[in-house]
Symmetry: C2
Subunit: 105 residues, 2 copies
Amino acid sequence: MEARVVTSACSFNPDKMAKNPLFESPHMFFDVYCLKPGQAQKVHVHYGSDKVYYVLSGSGHFTIGDQEATYGPGTAVMARSGQPHGIRNDGPDDLMALVVMAPKP
Amino acid sequence: MEARVVTSACSFNPDKMAKNPLFESPHMFFDVYCLKPGQAQKVHVHYGSDKVYYVLSGSGHFTIGDQEATYGPGTAVMARSGQPHGIRNDGPDDLMALVVMAPKP
């Protein structure tokens, strides 16, 4: 069975945000993003793919389209195809977030 | 911004497992499944779509293909296109799991 303990798969990189793959298929990727305080994935856009974030721990400052908001553990955020999106760790603690994108761009 | 507090979206049904939609698009659905003790989604199969479960709380007994295993919070499980799969709450507590399927069948 393909099973992954998410926190065990989460590694941090002191130099930049780390994307840690959990599962991948032609239909999706399913990652855990690990961000030290101040690290970010800059705002970017995909066409034809949707992305969902789910905050596991820490504080994520999201930009989706022309909106910005900060969410903590337990909140899921959707970025639809064509919507510029990004995430920044704006808190004092490490940030971990599940990220699914479908289809894989 | 499309943001959802997952536990707030989770409702239970005393009669059967509850699927609570969080986000939906042509490329995926992203739900939270809420199962009282003993409730289950029976083993079934999709062709052309993959599904990932992520256990938020409680104890999930998974069947994927010909394998069975029980996982608690923090574990993600993959069911690929064509693999029979199901989940049962085999613990004493409520079970909540994120479920993403791509593409939407």
